[in-house]
Amino acid sequence: MDPRLGTAIVVVVGVPAVLIGYIWLTEQLLRAFGQRIRPKLRPWLWLAPALAFLGVFLVYPTLGTIVRSFENKAGTSFIGLDNYAWFFTNDASLIALRNSLIWLVALTAFTVGVGLLIALLVDRVRYETVAKSVIFVPLAISMVAASVIWSFMYFYVTPPEPQVGTLNAILEVFGIEPVAWLQVTDYAFNTILLVVVMAWMWTGFAMVILSAALKGINPELLEAARVDGASERQVFRGITLPLLAPTIAVVTTTMIITALKAFDIVYVMTSGNFDTQVVAFQMIKQLYDFGQPGRASAIAVILLLAIIPVMAINIRRFRAQEAIR
């Protein structure tokens, strides 16, 4: 038997067994305590494994990364804020920073905006499921595969050879000169083209979540408004949109995080050439190609800091909502 199969069986059977065993063990342990302490102790014992995992795999590495970001290349001495200073004075990273900002704004605006529009438009048509499925399918494709697909869309062949890339083939039909799409750096156009790939994948996600929230709105509310003579636009502005607001906030947060994590598309389609590098790409480059774990850590910390306000707003919103309930 392949030893890997054995490993798989151990994991599939073993992990649940250990978890159940743990719960059973904690219950045995709790018997030693009095009735009154038991309910207070139980949640902590149940939480302990999760907290341990978080500690080992999230908190410890995060702290480690922060410490490492203040160290030199070899990790032998502290160099203060030099790694951060390097990031903000280096041409390549500044372009990466600009591009990440473009990713963040363009991707979020497009996916949430178009996702909402589609969710509203298909809400009351007969072929809703089909339409939504079609838009949702790209999300199931891996990033690398999607990048390869879109590389064919943007493909450039030297004229007079026939254009085999979709976009250039269309231009050819109209007798327009083909364009080497991914090399167009004016106004960061090629970065926008990369964002399009991600938007193509994630619009479906935004649409599905928003559509589900839309279905959750009580139809009586809408009907009451209509009976009172409100126009469709007024219904949307006054009822639908405020009720959708929490969901939009969640989707927006997800998209912001997705935008900041963008790496695969850039790596596959341009390898960061033609000024398309993003912050996450610079991090990988510094870590593996440049052998600068200190600088890579600094970039990781910068990304973390960039996410914190978004998370804070989300948590506050969540709390406010809980309070209403």
Binding site: T158, A212, F263
Partner: protein, 453 residues
């Protein structure tokens, strides 16, 4: 409006689909950034049993044992490697578990740091090999050293040695800087190709026979630009000489040095006279860079590429000698005549197991090397491997062995950070030649960082 039950059903369905697809998306999302993960994990699983195995009682019966190997070869090169190890597998009963990755550097950097390594591995270059010298096994006791040194060109043995320890051997080599042409398009004997000026004159004289003078393609995924670095190296070697060449890759000659800048400008002339211009160069894969040469009407007169191009792109199906032929890179400054640049795939050993020792010793022998050489697309570092399939391969192998000055590919000798920046700089320079000074200044900054310990 829809009745409540249907809404509920639809909602549940949407939720379930969403969850299912999210899970799918997450797992694929996790897998894709580490495109090289399969390369890293395969040896990890199998390396452990290999390393813990008790040494067999000598002899060559290694039945049931396996050797994990990581390399950059895929496609035809991978097939050639398999053909090469087949006799060894048959003879010993051991198995070779090969993983090909385009991101060798990342896989091995992580491996060296974590200790999860294959038994044998291709090494990205001599520069990187030096950094890993401590993790690599001394091959002095593994190979038949006397035979190896007598069969191999001295500079190549030298390049695999760190502090007197032989840690890397060349599995295959290549001559860089060959100028390819099609005898059907251009009569090479109608002029001289001895010097760079002669070659330029020849190109001008035959201007109307093709769209452009040169063909070029530098796209190569994460390593885009390397094909251009070969150009710069060839020019530096012959225009500024071996001394500048050496101090340059060693990091003591700056990129803004007039000698290096002049090399970029000479290269810039070639770019300006290339088929399709910058857009084509940057969007064409190096393997297909020379393809327009075979078009009708021809796209270009010349293509600059290493000897391995004969196994790639349109060269693969074209006939050696009639469809294509080569001349060595012409001399630029007569003072440095007779210099040849070469490169090769280094192999090192990370785990000292009986099977790994046996395979390593086998790979460098002439009979093993002959197998790959016969398939084509590779030259051997071993002088006794001579089964070259055609005259062109034989001539390029001789060029390598008889060079007055042998220079190893400078970008492969540079630290990884420098190498990576050099690649990117080529792409940038091809796209915007007017920013040469800024590009070189940037490379100077990287140089300061990359060579610092």
């Amino acid at each position: 409006m829809i009745e409540p039950t249907r809404t509920l059903g639809a909602r549940t369905a949407v939720a379930i689909t969403a969850i299912a697809l999210l899970v799918g998306a997450c797992s694929s999302g996790n897998a894709s950034p580490a495109a090289s993960a399969p390369g890293a994990s395969t040896p990890a699983e199998s390396a452990a049993p290999g390393g813990s195995e008790a040494p067999s009682a000598g002899g060559e019966d290694l039945t049931g044992q396996s050797v994990t190997v990581i390399g950059t070869w895929g496609g035809t090169e991978q097939d050639a490697f398999f053909a090469m190890v087949k006799p060894w597998e048959d003879q010993t009963g051991a198995k070779v578990k090969y993983t090909g990755t385009r991101d060798l550097n990342t896989v091995l950097t992580t491996g060296v740091a974590s200790g999860v390594l294959p038994d044998l591995a291709g090494l990205p270059g001599p520069g990187q090999m030096v950094e890993w010298a401590d993790s690599l096994i001394d091959l002095g006791g593994v190979l038949d050293t006397a035979t190896y040194t007598s069969e191999t060109a001295a500079p190549l043995v030298q390049l695999g040695t760190v502090n007197g320890k032989l840690v890397g051997v060349f599995i295959k080599t290549a001559v860089k800087g060959l100028i390819w042409y099609s005898p059907k398009t251009i009569d090479i004997a109608s002029g001289s190709t001895a010097t760079w000026d002669d070659l330029k004159a020849l190109a001008t004289a035959n201007k109307d026979k093709a769209d452009a003078e040169w063909c070029m393609g530098v796209e190569s995924g994460a390593a885009s630009g390397w094909a251009g670095t070969d150009w710069i190296e060839d020019i530096v070697l012959r225009q500024a000489g071996p001394d500048v060449y050496n101090t340059w890759w060693q990091g003591t000659t700056k990129w803004t040095d007039p000698a290096i800048k002049a090399a970029f400008q000479t290269f810039g002339d070639v770019v300006a006279n290339s088929y399709g211009g910058a857009k084509t160069i940057n969007s064409t894969n190096f393997a297909n860079g020379g393809d327009p040469m075979f078009k009708s009407p021809p796209g270009c007169l010349f293509h600059h590429q290493a000897s391995f191009i004969t196994g790639l792109g349109a060269f693969k199906t074209a006939a050696a000698g009639t469809d294509y032929d080569f001349v060595p890179f012409p001399d630029i400054d007569p003072a440095y005549a007779g210099s040849v640049e070469g490169a090769g795939d280094l192999f090192g050993m990370f785990h000292d197991t009986p099977a790994a020792r046996s395979l390593m010793a086998y790979l460098v022998t002439a009979p093993a090397q002959d197998i790959w050489v016969k398939i084509g697309g590779a030259l051997s570092a071993n002088k006794n491997a001579t089964s070259y399939p055609d005259d062109i391969s034989k001539r390029s192998a001789e060029l390598l062995q008889n060079a007055k000055t042998f220079a190893f590919d400078a970008s492969d000798l540079m630290p990884t950070a420098m190498n990576s920046a050099f690649f990117a700089a080529i792409v940038k320079y091809v796209q915007s030649p007017d920013q040469l000074d800024a590009i070189l200044a940037d490379l100077d900054k990287t140089q300061v960082d990359a060579y610092a310990q």
